[in-house]
Structure formats: structure tokens, C-alpha cells
């Protein structure tokens, strides 16, 4: 699961302009049978998000919104049961869930007196049956269940994955008898930055001292790793010293270059943990 930069680039190459649908994922798995599904999905999702970030603005100009809305209206007039919104999103290379949000927002603007608040929109996306228009509700729902990179369901899955790995890590730590403070305990003590776990007694992994461990249930690509370094890992280092990051879905090998500096990357829970011995010798 640790890929070289070149291997990663090869995969990323195949992801350009691929819509985030079930079918795309299936093809991807066939193309790279040796990679785990979760890793592929994580890479796909991250690459897609990068792509969306880059193009986000052009889909939010008022002209674009108007254009999409008209196309949506025309489409559903012709056939309300056809996947109008989903096809529109795929056609303009934008995430279906986000397209649904654009159209929903535009729709509400037209039908409500006051512009819809974010929380109302979020709530409707979570539960399309709240959408006053039945056709739109179905269209939105279809977008959401067919989007494997964005949307409330995907968010929930990602969150659940993250949580599950934290639990997994906690169990492993308990099993190894390593005492730790978790995020909640740290927060309660008033720490301003909190890794998932701080070891109360440091250990060494592959010759490197570890004070804290952060679990990342995603693939460590350049972009996300750098963002994490900046927002989290270095901050942890700044407060607690060197530590370990576990990218459960792997990472790009070349990124593991800060070991000497105090940030160690692993794709699984380390096996050779050296603890401080209280020998009497």
C-alpha cells in the first residue's frame, strides 16, 4: 500500500475526468487489481476533490448556475423520471452532490421569499423528502446516492472510517499496554492541538522516538500530506515532540522524508515497538 511517486502518478493519470460514480470505481478496480479497494477509493476521492477544488469557481458563476438550472428545468419537463441532474453533472464534469446543491439552492431562491440558509439546504440534502418539490427531491436523492466522493452519505462514511480506525488504534495500544491520553482527554485538559493519542511514556519505532500517534484513514498523497503537516503534524511536533502518523490506506513513499526530523509515516500499526525498560541493571 506504500506506493512510489511513480506508481501513484500512474493511478492518478487514469483518474482524470472520471465521474465519481459506482461504475467508475468498478473499472478502476479492474484496472489495478493489485491495489486494495479502499486505497483506490481513497486515492480516487482525493484526486477528484483536488479536481473539484480547481474547477469549483467556474461552476459557481451566476451564468453557469443559470445555465444549469435552465437545463435542469428543461430536462425534467421532458421526463421527470430521467436522471437529468446526474447526467448534467457528469456532462459538465462536476460532482453530482454539489450540482444538486447548486440546483436546490437556485430552486429555493425562486420559490421562497428569503434566500435559503445553509443549514436548511444541508438538512434537505440529508433528507431530500423535505424538499418541497417531489421531482427535485428524487433528482437530488439520485445525485447523492450516486456520488461516491461528495454528499452527506459519503461524509458519513468517511467520518465512520476515521472513527473506526481510531478505535482500532486504541485497541492496539491497549493490547500493547501502552498508556496514552486520547483526544478527548487532551481537550479536556485544555490542549490547543490534539493528536489522536499522546503516549504517556514515549516508545521507539524503527529507531525513532514517538510521543504521539495520529491515525489517518486515507491515502497519504502529496497534497493532503502537506496540508496535514502544516495544520496538524508539525503542530504536534511543536508541542509534543516527534511522533507517528499511520496512513491506513498507504502513502507515497517519498513523503516519508521527515523521519529524522520527528515525523514517521507508517501504513499499519508498527510491529517493532521498543519501550523503555525499567531494568534494574
Amino acid at each position: 500500500m506504500i506506493l512510489t511517486k511513480a506508481q501513484y502518478d500512474e493511478i492518478a493519470q487514469c483518474l482524470v475526468s472520471v465521474p465519481p460514480t459506482r461504475q467508475s470505481l468498478r473499472k478502476l478496480k479492474q484496472r489495478f487489481p493489485s491495489q486494495s479497494q479502499a486505497t483506490l477509493l481513497s486515492i480516487f476521492s482525493q484526486e477528484y476533490q483536488k479536481h473539484i477544488k480547481r474547477t469549483h469557481a467556474k461552476h459557481h458563476t451566476s451564468e453557469a448556475i443559470e445555465n444549469y438550472y435552465q437545463r435542469y428545468l428543461n430536462g425534467v419537463v421532458k421526463n421527470g423520471a430521467a436522471p437529468v441532474l446526474l447526467e448534467l453533472a457528469n456532462e459538465v464534469d462536476y460532482a453530482p452532490s454539489l450540482m444538486a446543491r447548486i440546483i436546490l439552492e437556485r430552486f429555493l431562491q425562486e420559490h421562497e421569499e428569503t434566500p435559503p440558509s445553509k443549514s436548511v439546504i444541508n438538512s434537505m440534502l440529508r433528507d431530500p423528502s423535505q424538499i418541497p418539490d417531489g421531482v427535485l427531491a428524487n433528482q437530488v436523492y439520485q445525485c447523492i446516492v450516486n456520488d461516491c466522493c461528495y454528499g452527506p452519505l459519503v461524509d458519513c462514511i468517511k467520518h465512520a472510517i476515521g472513527h473506526e480506525h481510531e478505535v482500532l488504534l486504541r485497541d492496539l495500544l491497549l493490547e500493547k499496554n501502552l498508556s496514552f491520553l486520547d483526544e478527548d482527554q487532551l481537550r479536556a485538559k485544555g490542549y490547543d492541538k490534539t493528536p489522536d493519542f499522546i503516549l504517556q511514556v514515549p516508545v521507539a519505532v524503527e529507531g525513532h522516538i514517538i510521543h504521539w500517534i495520529e491515525s489517518k484513514a486515507s491515502f497519504g498523497d502529496e497534497c493532503s500530506h502537506h496540508a496535514y503537516l502544516h495544520d496538524q503534524f508539525w503542530s504536534y511536533w511543536n508541542r509534543f515532540g516527534p511522533g507517528l502518523v499511520i496512513y491506513w490506506y498507504g502513502f507515497i513513499q517519498e513523503l516519508d522524508c521527515n523521519r529524522e526530523r520527528g515525523i514517521l509515516l507508517k501504513a499499519c500499526f508498527p510491529t517493532d515497538i521498543v519501550t523503555l525498560c525499567h531494568s534494574t541493571a
Partner: protein, 1227 residues
């Protein structure tokens, strides 16, 4: 001075008498009348003697070939320390070595020279007049024609040119003595005719001593003077202060003197003749690195040399020379001189005894003289590090000239344990986050807290970047990081944020730079020492290699300017780039406080006579602690000096007297940033000079040009001179300062005296003035000074320039390879363990006195142990109270709050009011803290004391120690508790209240008690994320679009629901949001089942679920909802228009499944009848196709027609708030 030397040579006066005469102004009874008479006649010259002597020696040695090892070149500089050592350094040639003496190189160009040279500072005895002289010549000359430089150049450069009057022309006497002083200005190298001036060369002070570029500050005193042609520039550069007034007159006087002198001495001075020699010297210099052999039998006038050596040694021994190690360096240079420039015949003809005949006529003479001096300095030599001793003992010349000395040195080497080790510094770590000082409670607002959070990260980001890049060529701190630093500083608005940041900054500074290694450029994030303990032996090898590579080239000659080596550079540049007034102010406050704290730290005192192993171990610890404190103090003081004098620092002293006076008037009003005078006096009085002086020197080394003119600082300098003079190494009286302690002070003071800002005129001041300053050292008994706290290691750490001696010797061995710089290695860092806990304040009263008395006759470790235990237990006691008593009160507060809310309804009261009520109820309980605290200390302290003291401690001693520990701990804990407990309770309760109030808001639903899985569960259930994702796939298949071959098998659906059950029962990996989504998805699945919308895999005819299968799946769902979900399930969605609408698309419409589901829901108590009816009712409002509406109405009626069940299983909460769960689930 010459007269004195002459009379010595003529044996009119004994050396002892002469030295007494020099050292003390008063006549002693020991002198014979004849001596007294001679000396008295010379009285006015007294003060000028030493500078003269030093200049004389430097001059005389100027012919020693410059080729010597490169280092020697500097040596001259070193000699520069001496007054005019113009000619002195033969080695000047060494200029090559320029690296060693960084600054020297430019010397050829007068302008630059001044900057660098600090060496020049040799102050003439009286007047500062031409310091600086030496500076100029240094570097280049060495290279080109050194010879040129020496003769003329060497001499005071200043001489030829307008000499610069010293700042304070306080010493009129000098002028009068001028007689003796040969014309100061040496002639520019070119003109051979001039005589060598004996004057002390003007020190070329760095013109701009901007701290930011300390390296150029000054070089070691270059031996050779700059060509005189340049002098003017040189002169100005130094403390030009005195310049204006004196210049002219001095010059005139010198002119007169010169004439006078030439009359007296008929022969022209040897120096004049140098020019011719140049030719020879040049070739030799380049070609021969091989040394001329030295032969004791060929010494020209041993008696004379012996005499001069004796006088010289005596001056050194009496600390009449400013810098002991500079003199040693000079002597080593003589010892290792490689060649002598041939003297003119005429010179040789001079009378052997006259001063005018060259003192050193050959290499033999030089070596002889050097060995003579070294014999007198054996004590100092023997305390050098082992490496130096070895090189010295192995020096063949030394062996040849004095087998006895060689034997002693070898013995000293063999007996020496003073190996300066090279252990790596502990790796730099970030300052750790400490909730007690760093959490939100320590900030005025959330904003300040978060701002600081960001700043901490920016700070380290900048630090890391610096580490990565500062060695890249072309990288510039300000360009690379300046704007980021300023942007960050700009966010520090609140004063409290500044203090937080300064604390971080200071701690990081101490952490990274305290060890000497820190000075050498440590690598951030390097594996900590534990690693090596863990046996990473490859790492060890790597480290050793790295050490070699990193070993500093050299410290920059025997008198390097103050610099910020290694990591210190980062902190300096950070301060400069930040250029924030507030930051600097807070930093100074913080540094001052820390300095006071450390300076006042009660360091363990030596107990004499206790030699057993236990005390030895203790002793190591005590020394280490001292070293840590001392190094920290020096670092802090250096930065304090840097920041404090930063605003006043300028490239040059004020150009005119008027300007200077007005600046003085201003500055004299400004109170010192730290009352160093008082601290120095206290330190001297308490006999802790060994701690105080070294950091004070660091502080003062950054003084600006005006500082020494201020009365306040001038008196400090005077006091330091007094201290220096009093540190006679040969005196070893009971209760006196230990030898190495003295040596350390001599080294650091000697270094300070070489810094351009040090007023040159002060050094050779009359003692009378010094005496005026009262230092009452007699009062205190045994202070730190008499404890051997300094060892070689610490000495070398504090004074890396002493290592130049070894380099010099090494380069001799290696035939002058310049690489000898590699010899200077890092010194072992002392441990960085935290500074010992501060001793608790002693309380008043008889008990306290008794306790003190108790400790008096016990080993100091006992006291330390007791104090340590008391300190820790006291502190733990407070923590314990927080965790128990206060936590209980907080819990009470929370339950009171709940009651309050129940009685007053959801709204509760005004939070502030609530808090008041709670506090008034709870705070009185705080009084229990004292009794509990007392109990805690009583319980915990004795055991700790017992564990830490030796088993053999007598029972009575042990129990007293325990009792004292209990008392001290209780005192500490109770003092804190009684002062703070109420506030603490308030604060904690307040936090709890706001926490509770906040929590009450949005998420009560998510908080329902959660059952974990059973003990036996092995958590093998599928992960929630996996399930959601599987279900999502089913939903997306159902929602379409899908490929023709896509579908779900009924078995898969069944398996999915089975897995969901497992997951919901093992809750190990389940988090509330995941459960919510699972619930929602399960409802959607049910709707799809009811509407038969799930595409089933299989042969085309079907594509639909069998009725029976669907029912079975619905049953599974019903049971999940009923038994396994712990959160609310949004069942009403089953009847949302959208889901019911799914039925509209099916043909023929099948309503039985829906009806079945509704009945089951009611039956299982999952939904109330009324609720369902309400939902069905609202369905009518939607727009449906006509036939669908009808069917819907039929269903409605059918459902209504069902027998009304009593709904026994309905949950009570649903009766009260039928829709609550639903609403929450949707939100």
C-alpha cells in the same frame, strides 16, 4: 619602561622588587634602598611598564618568521592584546590563517581592518590613545610582505597617523611618560626609517560592530600593524570617543618623544631596518614550512632572556597583563616559530645587553625565551586539556630546551583526566505544551488563545525553515523569513500574548542553545539521547562522524568577537527581523527575571573532607547543575545584552565630543535594564563571582560605544578589573577561590578586555582608583568561589578560544597545515536536565532555624533531597486536591445545576446568577482543602524521603528529615491552597456550568445511555463504514441509473441486514453519526422493499423480489429497529410523500406490504397509531395522480379500520413528545 628594563638588565633592581613595584604603587619595605631609589626615580613610568613590556616583546619577536603555522599569525593578533605589539607577530604572516582570525584579513586595507580588529585594543597604560593600532596590519600583510608590515607596520599603526585619543584621557601620566614611549606611530611599512614605536597600537576597533554581523567585529589582535598610512581610519573606528580632543597634541608629543629618544639612542632601532629583510622573508615564508631547528647551545644571551622571561612571567602571574591566554598564545607562537628573518648585521653588532640589541636574534632565542616563560606557567599549563598537554609534552623543542619541564608536562598529561569529550548535544526539541501555563485559562480571550496557537506553529515553521536553509549560499534570513515573522508578531496584540510568546521563545532558546553543541549548530529533530540508550549503535557512529564534520573550524582566534554561533544565530536574527518594541521589552523583562532567578539559585556547597563514593556521586550532580546554571545564565545574559543595547548600537562612536556629551547626558538617565552592578557586588560579597562574572561578561560584551562612559557601567568595569587583578593563580590560600574557578574568570575577563567596547584606558589604571570601590568580600565565609565547581570541560565550553592553543601546537606538529582547525572540537554538553527545583523559602521562626541547623552538619544531599521531596509533594498535593476535592465539588455543581433546571424548567436562570448561587454553596467547602492537604503531605512525604536517602541514614536523622519534609511540603501546599482554593473552585465550577449549559443545547438525543457490547464480544462485526457504503450502493442501484446487468441478490440483502444487526450489537466501532445514517438508510431500504423498487439479479422474468422474501426482509428491519438501534430511527420517513410516491410508479400497485409494515410498527410499539394517522393524513395534501389518491384513501381507511390496540409497548417518551425523536433524527 625601557629604563626599568634596563635597570633590571643591569641588575640594579631585582625582578621581585620590580614586579612588586609594578603591581602595587606603594613601595614595599622589602626593597633595598638602592632598588627603591631606582624605582622611585621611575615612578611616573610605573603604569606604563606593562604595556611597554608587552609591546616590546611583540616587537622583538617580529622577526620570527611569519611562516609559522598559520595560526601563529593570529597569535600576533593575540599579542595585540598587548599594547602595541606591532612587530610582535612574526607570524603575522600567518595572515593566511585568516580564517582563524576572521577579521584580520582585511587588515591590509586600513578601513576594513578597524572593523575587525579588536585585538588592537591593547590599551596603553594610560591613555587609550591609539588603540587599534595593531588591528589593521594583520591579515594581508602577512600574506604579502609581512616583513614590511612588521617593522613599521607593526608598530602602532596609529602612530604615524593621528593617533586617536582614548575615550577618556583620564591618565595624564601617560603623556608624561611619553618619553619612554617611542613615537607611537610606526612608520608606514614603506618608510623604513621610523623606529618602532613602543606605544601600544591603537586598537582598531570595529567600525561597525553591528551585532548582526558580529563576526567582523574584531579579530583577534593582529600582531602586525596596518601600514601606518592607513591609521587614521583605524583610529577612528575604535572608540573614537576620545579622538577629537587629543589627536593633535598627542601626535605632536609623540613627535617630540621620538626625537628625544633618537637622541638618547644613537642607534637606530632595529625595527627600522626591516625592509631589507623583506626579501628574504618572503621566500622563506612561502617555501619553507619546515622549521629551523632550535638549539639551546646557540642561544645568544640566555641571561638576558631569562631575566626578561622572569619579568614577563611575573607580570602574567600578577595578572598585570590583560589576557593570560593571549600571552600564552604568544609564547606558544614563539615556541613554534619556524624561522627567523635575518637581522641586519648592524643589529647584531649592538651591545648585547642593551635593549636596543634585538632580544630575539634567532629561533634559538625565541624558543629559549618561550620555554623559560612556560616553566613559570606550569600551573596553568597543567590545567589545560589533555590534548594540549600531550602536544606540548611531545614538542621536541621543549624537550630539547627543558627536559625537566617536559617531564612535568608528561606527568601532568598522564595524570590528567581532563578529556574534553565530544558527546553530541541533546537534540533540539520543541518546548512542550503544558496545560498549566498554556491552556485557554491562561489567556484573556478565545481569540488570544487561538492566535497564540497559530503563532507557536509559525514560530516553529520559521525555525524549521531556518534549519533547512540557513546554510544555503545566498539564503538570507530577513529575505526568507522576515515578513512572516513580522506578520506573526503583528498579531500579538495583547500584552499577555507577548508574554506567552516570549516564554516560548526563551524556553526554546535555552533548550537549543544552552549546551555548547547548541552553539555549534544542532539539527532540529535529531534523535534524542534515549535512542542511543536503546542501542542504535549505527547512530552513534553516524554521530561521531557528524561531529568530525561539524567540528567548528575554529573559534576565531584567541580573542574572537562575541558571536551567535549555531542556533543562537536564529534567535538573534529573529529578534532583528521581528523588530518589535513590545517583543524586545517583554523579552528583556523575561530574561532579566530568569537571570536573577538563576543567579540567586542556591547551589550546593561543597562539604570539605567528605571523600566517599556517595559524595562523589553527589558532587558530579552538583557540578553538572552548576554548569547548567552557568551556561544558561551566560546565554540569557548574552541575549539580554544584545537586546538591551540594540537600540544604541551603531557602527561608530559619536564623531564629536559635543555629540558624545549630549548622548552621555541622555543615557546616564536611563536606568540599566538589569541592575548588574548590584548583582555583581552581591556576587562578590557572597563569594559567587565564579557564577556571576561569566554571565556578566557575556552581557557586557554587547555594550555599545557609549556604555563604558556611563558612570554606572564604568564602575562595573573598574570592579571587574579589580577582580581580575585579584585572581592571582599562584595564591592558594584556604578559603580562596579554586584554581580552575580563577582560570575561568581570568579567561572570560581577558576576553572581555579585548572587546572593542571595553575602555582601554581602564586596564592599566592606577590601583588607587580601583581600591576606591569597596568590595567587601571578607564578610562572607565559604561561597561558591571556594568550591571547585569549574572543571576543564566547563572552562573550554565557556572559553572555546583556549582551544586555539592546541591548534597552534597541532599545526606545528602537522607542519602547519591550516586544517588544524579541525582540532577544535565540540565540548561535551552538559546535561540539560532541568534546573533543580528551587528551594522553598525558609520560614521564619525557631523551627526554621532548627531545621537549618539540622542540615548544617548533614551532607548536602540530604538537604537537597528533603527540599526536593517537599517541593514535589507540595505541588502534588495541590494537584491531588484539584483532582479530588475540587472535582467532587464540580460534580456537585453539575448535579445542583440539573436540579435547578428541573425546578426552573428548561430555561434555567441567568448563567451568571446560577454560578453565584453554586459558588456560594460550594466555596465554603474549600476549607477542607487545607486539612486534606495537610493529611496528604503527612502521608506522602516520609515515604519519599525514605526512598531517596541512603539506607544507612541514622533513624533519628531520617525521622527529622521526614518531619522537615512534611513541614515544608505542608507549608508550600497550604500557602497555595489558602490563597487560591476559592478562586480555583470558582473557576472550575464556572467552566463546568458553561460546559453543561452548552451541552444541554443541541444533542441530548445523541447522549442517550449507550450500551457497549457484551464482554465476550470480539468485535468481529462488519465496520459501520463498510455497511453504509454497501447500503449506499443498493440505494444507488435502486435510484438508478443502472446498467442492465446490475442488481442485487435477495441473499445479499439478507446478509446485509444480518450484518447490520451484528454491527449494531457490537458497538465497538460505531459512532453516533454512523448509527444515524444506518437508521436512515434502513428506513429507505424498507421503503424500497415496500415499493418493490429494488432491482434483483436474476433471469429477466423476475427482476423483483418475491413477496415472501420482502416480508422476511421487512421483519428483519423491524427487529433491528426495535432491538438494535439505540438512537432514534426516522420511521416517519416511511410515510413521507417521496417514499410513498415510490409506490405510484409500480404497476400493479401492491399495498399489502405497506399495510403489513404499518401494522407491525404499531404492534411493536415503534410508532404510535396517532402518529401514523397524522402522517397518512398529511399525505393527502400532496399532489398525486387521481387513481393513486384513491388507493391511498383506501389504505387509510383500512388502517383506521384495524382494531384499536392498547399499544402497551409504546415508549412513554413518545406519549409526551411524539415527534421528538423524529425531529432530532432529521436535524
Amino acid at each position: 619602561m625601557a629604563a626599568v628594563l634596563e635597570s633590571l638588565l643591569r641588575e640594579e633592581v631585582s625582578v621581585a622588587a620590580a614586579v612588586r613595584w609594578i603591581a602595587r604603587s606603594t613601595q614595599s619595605s622589602e626593597e633595598s634602598p638602592g632598588e627603591a631609589a631606582v624605582l622611585n626615580s621611575l615612578r611616573p613610568l610605573r603604569k606604563e611598564f606593562v604595556p611597554f613590556l608587552l609591546n616590546f616583546l611583540r616587537e622583538q619577536s617580529s622577526r620570527v618568521l611569519p611562516q609559522g603555522p598559520p595560526t601563529p599569525a593570529k597569535a600576533p593578533g593575540a599579542s595585540a592584546a598587548l599594547p602595541g605589539r606591532p612587530g610582535g607577530q612574526p607570524r603575522g604572516g600567518r595572515g593566511a590563517r585568516s580564517q582563524l582570525f576572521p577579521t584580520t584579513e582585511p587588515s591590509s586595507t586600513a578601513a576594513e581592518a578597524p572593523l575587525t580588529r579588536r585585538g588592537g585594543r591593547r590599551r596603553g597604560p594610560g591613555p587609550a590613545r591609539e588603540r587599534g593600532g595593531r588591528a589593521p596590519g594583520v591579515p594581508e600583510e602577512g600574506v604579502g610582505g609581512e616583513s614590511l608590515s612588521w617593522p613599521g607596520g607593526r608598530r602602532l599603526k596609529g602612530s604615524g597617523s593621528p593617533s586617536i585619543p582614548s575615550l577618556t584621557l583620564s591618565d595624564p601620566p601617560n603623556l608624561s611618560n611619553l618619553e619612554e614611549f617611542p613615537p607611537v606611530g610606526s612608520v608606514p611599512p614603506g618608510p623604513a626609517g621610523t623606529k618602532p614605536s613602543r606605544r601600544i597600537n591603537p586598537t582598531p576597533v570595529s567600525e561597525e560592530r553591528s551585532l548582526s554581523k558580529p563576526k567582523i567585529c574584531f579579530t583577534s589582535p593582529p600582531i602586525s600593524c596596518v601600514p601606518s598610512s592607513q591609521p587614521s581610519t583605524l583610529d577612528t573606528s575604535p572608540w573614537g570617543l576620545g579622538l577629537p580632543p587629543g589627536c593633535r597634541s598627542l601626535r605632536e608629543e609623540r613627535e617630540m618623544l621620538r626625537k628625544e629618544r633618537s637622541k638618547q639612542l644613537q642607534q637606530s632601532p632595529t625595527p627600522a631596518s626591516p625592509t631589507p629583510e623583506l626579501g628574504t622573508s618572503l621566500p622563506s615564508r612561502t617555501g619553507s614550512l619546515t622549521a629551523e631547528p632550535a638549539d639551546p647551545a646557540r642561544v645568544s644571551s640566555p641571561q638576558r632572556l631569562e631575566l626578561v622571561a622572569l619579568v614577563y612571567s611575573s607580570c602574567i602571574a600578577e595578572n598585570l597583563v590583560p589576557n593570560l591566554f593571549l600571552e600564552l598564545f604568544f609564547v606558544f607562537q614563539l615556541l613554534t616559530a619556524r624561522r627567523m628573518v635575518a637581522a641586519k648585521n648592524s643589529d647584531l653588532e649592538l651591545s648585547q645587553d642593551s635593549l636596543e640589541s634585538p632580544l630575539f636574534q634567532s629561533i634559538h632565542d625565541c624558543v629559549f625565551f618561550a620555554v623559560q616563560v612556560l616553566q613559570h606557567q606550569f600551573q596553568v599549563l597543567s590545567s589545560l586539556d589533555k590534548g594540549t598537554l600531550k602536544l606540548l609534552a611531545e614538542n621536541e623543542r621543549l624537550l630539547c630546551f627543558s627536559p625537566a619541564l617536559q617531564g612535568r608536562l608528561r606527568a601532568a598529561y598522564e595524570g590528567s583526566v581532563a578529556k574534553v569529550s565530544l558527546a553530541m548535544p541533546p537534540s533540539a526539541q520543541a518546548v512542550s505544551f503544558q496545560p498549566e501555563t498554556d491552556n485557554r485559562a491562561n489567556f484573556s480571550s478565545d481569540r488570544a488563545f487561538h492566535t497564540f496557537k497559530k503563532q507557536r506553529d509559525v514560530f516553529y515553521e520559521v525555525l524549521r525553515e531556518w534549519e533547512d536553509r540557513h546554510e544555503e549560499p545566498g539564503w538570507d534570513f530577513e529575505k526568507g523569513l522576515g515578513s512572516r515573522i513580522r506578520a506573526m508578531m503583528g498579531q500579538l496584540s495583547a500584552a499577555c500574548s507577548h508574554s506567552h510568546f516570549v516564554r516560548l521563545f526563551q524556553k526554546q532558546l535555552l533548550q537549543m542553545c544552552q549546551s555548547p553543541g547548541g552553539a555549534g549548530g544542532t539539527v532540529l529533530g535529531e534523535a534524542p539521547d534515549v535512542l542511543s540508550m536503546l542501542g542504535a549503535d549505527k547512530l552513534g557512529r553516524l554521530r561521531r562522524l557528524q561531529e568530525r564534520l561539524v567540528a567548528p573550524q575554529s573559534s576565531g582566534g584567541p580573542c574572537p568577537p562575541p558571536t551567535f554561533p549555531g542556533c543562537q544565530g536564529f534567535f538573534r536574527d529573529f529578534i532583528l527581523s521581528a523588530s518589535s518594541f513590545q517583543f524586545n521589552q517583554h523579552l528583556m523583562d523575561s530574561l532579566s527575571l530568569k537571570i536573577r532567578e538563576l543567579n540567586g539559585l542556591a547551589l550546593p556547597q561543597h562539604e570539605p573532607g567528605d571523600e566517599d563514593g556517595e559524595s562523589d556521586v553527589d558532587w558530579q550532580g552538583a557540578r553538572r547543575q552548576f554548569a547548567v546554571v552557568l551556561l544558561s545564565l551566560r546565554l540569557l545574559a548574552k541575549f539580554l545584552g544584545f537586546v538591551a543595547f540594540l537600540p544604541y548600537r551603531g557602527p561608530e562612536p559619536p564623531p564629536t565630543r559635543e555629540l558624545q556629551d549630549s548622548i552621555l547626558a541622555l543615557r546616564s538617565q536611563v536606568p540599566p535594564v538589569l541592575d548588574v552592578q548590584a548583582l555583581l557586588q552581591q556576587g562578590l560579597r557572597a563569594r559567587r563571582a565564579v557564577l556571576t562574572v561569566p554571565w556578566l561578561v557575556e552581557f557586557l560584551s554587547f555594550a555599545d560605544h557609549i556604555v563604558p562612559l556611563l558612570d554606572y557601567y564604568r564602575s562595573i568595569f573598574t570592579l571587574l578589573l579589580h577582580v581580575h587583578r585579584s585572581l592571582v593563580l599562584s595564591q592558594d590560600n584556604e578559603g580562596e577561590m579554586c584554581f580552575l574557578n580563577k582560570l575561568l574568570l581570568l579567561a572570560v575577563l581577558g576576553w572581555l578586555f579585548q572587546i572593542p567596547t571595553f575602555p582601554e584606558d581602564l586596564f592599566f589604571l592606577e590601583e588607587g582608583q580601583v581600591d576606591a570601590l569597596e568590595v567587601d568580600t571578607a564578610a562572607s565565609e565559604h561561597g561558591l568561589d571556594s568550591v571547585p565547581v569549574v572543571d576543564q570541560q566547563l572552562l573550554y565550553i565557556c572559553c572555546p578560544y583556549i582551544g586555539e592553543l592546541r591548534k597552534l601546537l597541532a599545526s606545528w606538529v602537522s607542519g602547519s597545515s591550516g586544517r588544524s582547525g579541525g582540532f577544535v572540537r565540540k565540548i561535551t554538553p552538559t546535561t540539560t536536565t532541568g534546573l533543580g527545583a528551587q528551594a522553598p523559602q525558609t520560614s521564619q521562626g525557631l523551627q526554621a532555624q532548627l531545621a537549618q541547623a539540622f542540615f548544617h552538619n548533614q551532607p548536602p544531599s540530604l538537604r537537597r533531597t528533603v527540599e526536593f521531596v517537599a517541593e514535589r509533594i507540595g505541588s502534588n498535593c495541590v494537584k491531588h486536591i484539584k483532582a479530588t476535592l475540587v472535582a467532587d465539588l464540580v460534580r456537585q455543581a453539575e448535579s445542583l445545576l440539573q436540579e435547578q433546571r428541573v425546578t426552573q424548567g428548561q430555561k434555567g436562570g441567568d448563567p451568571a446568577q446560577l454560578l453565584e448561587i453554586l459558588c456560594s454553596q460550594l466555596c465554603p467547602h474549600g476549607t477542607q482543602a487545607l486539612s486534606q492537604g495537610r493529611e496528604f503531605c503527612q502521608r506522602k512525604s516520609p515515604g519519599a524521603v525514605r526512598a531517596l536517602l541512603p539506607e544507612e541514614t541514622p533513624a533519628a536523622v531520617l525521622s527529622s528529615a521526614e518531619n522537615i519534609a512534611v513541614g515544608l511540603a505542608t507549608e508550600k501546599a497550604c500557602a497555595w491552597l489558602s490563597a487560591n482554593i476559592t478562586a480555583l473552585i470558582r473557576r472550575e465550577v464556572k467552566a463546568a456550568v458553561s460546559r453543561t449549559l452548552r451541552a444541554q443545547g443541541p444533542e441530548p438525543a445523541a447522549r442517550g445511555e449507550r450500551r457497549g457490547c457484551s464482554r465476550a464480544c470480539e468485535h468481529h462485526a462488519p465496520l459501520p463504514s463498510h455497511l453504509i457504503s454497501e447500503i449506499k450502493d443498493v440505494l444507488s442501484l435502486a435510484a438508478g441509473p443502472r446498467d442492465p446487468d446490475e442488481g442485487v441478490s435477495p441473499e445479499h440483502l439478507e446478509q446485509l441486514l444480518g450484518q447490520m444487526g451484528q454491527t449494531l450489537r457490537c458497538r465497538q466501532f460505531l459512532c453516533p453519526p454512523a448509527e444515524q445514517h444506518l437508521a436512515k438508510c434502513s428506513v429507505e431500504l424498507a421503503s424500497l422493499l415496500v415499493a418493490d423498487q429494488i432491482p434483483v439479479l436474476g433471469p429477466p422474468p423476475q427482476h423483483r423480489l418475491e413477496r415472501g422474501q420482502a416480508r422476511r426482509l421487512l421483519h428483519m428491519l423491524l427487529s433491528l429497529w426495535k432491538d438494535d438501534f439505540q438512537g432514534p430511527v426516522p420511521l416517519q420517513l416511511l410515510l413521507s410523500p417521496r417514499n410513498v410516491g415510490l409506490l405510484a410508479d409500480t404497476r400493479p400497485r401492491e399495498w399489502d406490504l405497506l399495510l403489513f409494515l404499518l401494522r407491525e410498527l404499531v404492534e411493536k410499539g415503534l410508532m404510535g397509531r396517532m402518529e401514523i394517522e397524522a402522517c397518512l393524513g398529511s399525505l393527502h395534501e400532496a399532489q398525486w395522480p387521481g387513481d393513486f389518491s384513491e388507493e391511498l384513501a383506501t389504505l387509510f381507511n383500512l388502517f383506521l379500520a384495524e382494531p384499536h390496540m392498547p399499544e402497551p409497548q409504546r415508549r412513554t417518551c413518545e406519549l409526551v413528545q411524539p415527534n421528538r425523536g423524529t425531529v432530532l433524527a432529521q436535524s
